[in-house]
Symmetry: C2
Subunit: 457 residues, 2 copies
């Protein structure tokens, strides 16, 4: 035993009281957490805090993403409750880890929900699914895979769209550009700006498109417009990534809402789709989603699967909810539960549609300045007001809380508050007309690219 | 309407058949997924594949982390099954999102499980909890928080320890150094090397320590050794981060296994603890863990909580299992379920202990070369063989599959395979003695630091 070993040995044997006392009395107290500064509140927290502080009975929180029923309460899906009990009682369901890509029953049901179970792509075994925590998590997996394994580095995102999209793509090293989606002047989808921006993007660009109920505008391309978009994506050799977030809540019909994904898949594209089971199952705490990849050619499937498995295995602690995936799979594969679920979806859609229509009607009755015709074209859980910050500030003084995006959670509207909201907006806008500028003008580069493309075709 | 708008309008109206046909026929097929190369299998996959291909009735897979009972089957915790049904049937439990730090009932129960409900730190409200997906996820949250918010940049990890630790810390920008933990020559804990390495680390270093059943060695410091370690950490102003992964499986007693965490907290340290509910609840697919932070001073708590909330909100799609957190909370707060759970833990511990003892006994009977005395000091779900790669290769030829870490999953051992394993190891080691070298020697820098420290004290 060396001298030092013996010294340590002696310390161990003698007990540590003396040394302990000496140490704590002689040195300055070490408080590493003292260096932490208070956090500056973000917009969401500021809005929530202001709303909670507001004592007016008129106060109205229109931010957030959670659907509320006509009593302002969370929606309980009876199908979800029944399926949850069924899953918990089923002793055959194992607590063992799932395969890296997730619950196979869930993935099968999720893919069939989008593609239908007789889809060519499924029969030809060129569809791959990855269970994720949410559709945003599916976008994250897709972005990481496309960046690291496919060496893609440019993506196109709608303007406006969820800020999270950009964060997800930038985090893995993508350059993000935007395509025009909304005409502020006309209050409608800017399909010409969209097409022009697709035309001028480089080959191999990843194009993220909301498949239905675009967030935040609620405006979707028509069938013909989707066909034009897909045509350009194909000719320009871009990779479409569709986000199916409010599946069922755009038209009230899950089959119809997934049509753009089926159309892209039917065109023989390599297409990715990030699918959510959050809003349409009211699974807000135990969330689950899926990344579906439809390959044009089945021979690429084994390598793609291996790379995904490998990527997901190295972050295995980031597992998604098995329980939620089992609930969803049980509902989608049990006729009675499936019917009950689609009825609830229809009910929610009807209430959203009714509130939106009522709101548009009130604004028109009041002859509120601005273009409100296209409010009735909007779909899904959000309503896009296109209101500017100064108006939102003035609305806060009237106890109405809307985030700076100008996006309203339609679920928060009820027959007894829509009128108050419409007249408050009317008051605010009549004080002074909005000075909106249409930013959707086409540049000479767009012009050149478009002429070139259509002359060639 | 501009010339280009009119052009696009015309295309939209005319349908796209002509353009579509032209596009797909004239251009080379775009198959972006064709660029994906096959994945090289990793060690785990190679081992699993070799095991599955092996047709011998003797084949024995000793890799993995999942406990198996004496029939080689997954362990079903009746308390977990009962709690799961209770949770699913409870209509009062909401599907609304949890607060950013997670399920408050779960966090309270998890903290009390470690600290006991009469702990000073809890009464003085200086304990904070964050629900995570697992204890590894808790380590990830801790590492990110310590790096980004506390500006820590050096961490000390045991050698050997889980490779994942290093990946987690490096991912957020830590410099990782190792402290000696195991003496290869003696087959025992190298407490002198450990102490010497702590002494020579810079102030403010984050020290990661397994609180019980160290992974992979299964060797834990004694009470006196823990006291010496904590004394040095305190004097050197380091930040202890304890990993409580196999809680209950080291001694069969959850209170005893968490003693080091209570001791550190009792010393007035700022201490972090990553807690797992995976192995000790057999929740292998719906995993849940917690990061507990005990502050020496309660006045730092609000800022620390705000920073954590902020950090976790920006990655809100990475939610952990609410269902599992509710199962754990229900078991820990329901007397009958709690008792049933602790009995199952004791049963598992007994079986692990029995298998380990039997294995050591067989090796001694066979007079297998090497030091096996300390096998009986090892605790928890793993058994550390310290076997070298060439021996592991030779064992594979005898249908025994052990990963290159030399770590055996004790749960995979049964009375009918321990003897075969021991004699196979005996055969392999008797062919040629292992040429182990003790790498635990102290350097002159160690020597200097130690003499300085103890002369001062």
């Amino acid at each position: 035993m060396s001298a030092v070993s013996m010294l340590l040995h002696k310390v161990l044997q003698s007990g540590l009281c003396r040394a302990n006392t000496r140490c704590s009395s002689s040195s300055v107290k070490f408080e590493p957490f003292a260096r932490i500064e208070p956090v500056a509140p973000n917009e969401h927290n500021r809005l929530e805090a202001a709303y909670h502080k507001d004592t007016s009975p008129l106060k109205l929180n229109l931010s957030g993403e959670f659907y509320r029923n006509s009593d302002g309460k969370p929606q309980v899906f009876q199908a979800v409750h029944k399926a949850a009990i069924g899953v918990a009682c089923d002793e055959k369901l194992s607590q063992e880890p799932l395969p890296p890509l997730g619950n196979a029953d869930f993935i099968k049901a999720a893919n069939e929900l989008i593609l239908t179970n007789s889809a060519e792509a499924l029969l030809e075994k060129r569809v791959l699914g990855v269970q994720t925590r949410s559709s945003l998590d599916a976008l994250r997996v897709a972005a990481q895979f496309l960046r690291e394994k496919m060496k893609c580095n440019v993506c196109l995102l709608a303007k406006p769209s969820s800020e999270t999209y950009e964060r997800i793509f930038k985090q893995v090293g993508f350059q993000c550009h935007s395509y025009q989606y909304f005409s502020e002047a006309k209050g409608e989808l800017n399909v010409f700006g969209l097409v022009a921006d697709l035309m001028t993007a480089p080959e191999g660009t990843v194009v993220l498109l909301d498949a239905c109920a675009q967030n935040p505008t609620g405006l979707d391309p028509s069938v013909d417009e989707w066909k034009l978009i897909s045509h350009i994506i194909k000719c320009k050799k871009m990779l479409p990534l569709l986000h199916l977030e409010s599946h069922g809540l755009a038209t009230g019909d899950v089959v119809q809402d997934a049509w753009p994904v089926r159309y892209f898949a039917g065109c023989g594209f390599d297409v990715l789709c990030a699918q959510s089971f959050v809003k349409n199952f009211s699974l807000y705490n135990e969330t689950v989603g899926q990344l579906m990849i439809v390959l044009g050619n089945p021979k690429h499937l084994p390598a793609v699967r291996e790379h995904l498995e490998n990527m997901l295995l190295t972050e295995k602690e980031q597992s998604s909810s098995v329980f939620a995936s089992r609930i969803v799979a049980k509902i989608l594969t049990t006729t009675a539960l499936h019917q009950e679920w689609t009825h609830t979806i229809k009910d929610i859609h009807q209430r959203l549609h009714k509130m939106r229509t009522l709101f548009a009607k009130k604004l028109k009755e009041l002859k509120t300045p601005g273009n409100w015709d296209h409010l009735s074209d909007q779909k899904g859980p959000y309503l896009y007001t296109n209101l500017k910050n100064k108006h939102l500030q003035q609305l806060q003084a009237r106890h109405i809380y809307i985030p700076s995006s100008g996006r309203i959670n339609v679920g928060a509207l009820r027959t007894n508050n829509v009128e108050y909201l419409a007249s408050a907006i009317n008051d605010v806008l009549k004080c002074k007309q909005t000075d909106t500028v249409d930013t959707a003008d086409l540049t000479s580069a767009h012009l050149h690219a478009l002429q070139h493309f259509f002359n060639a075709a």
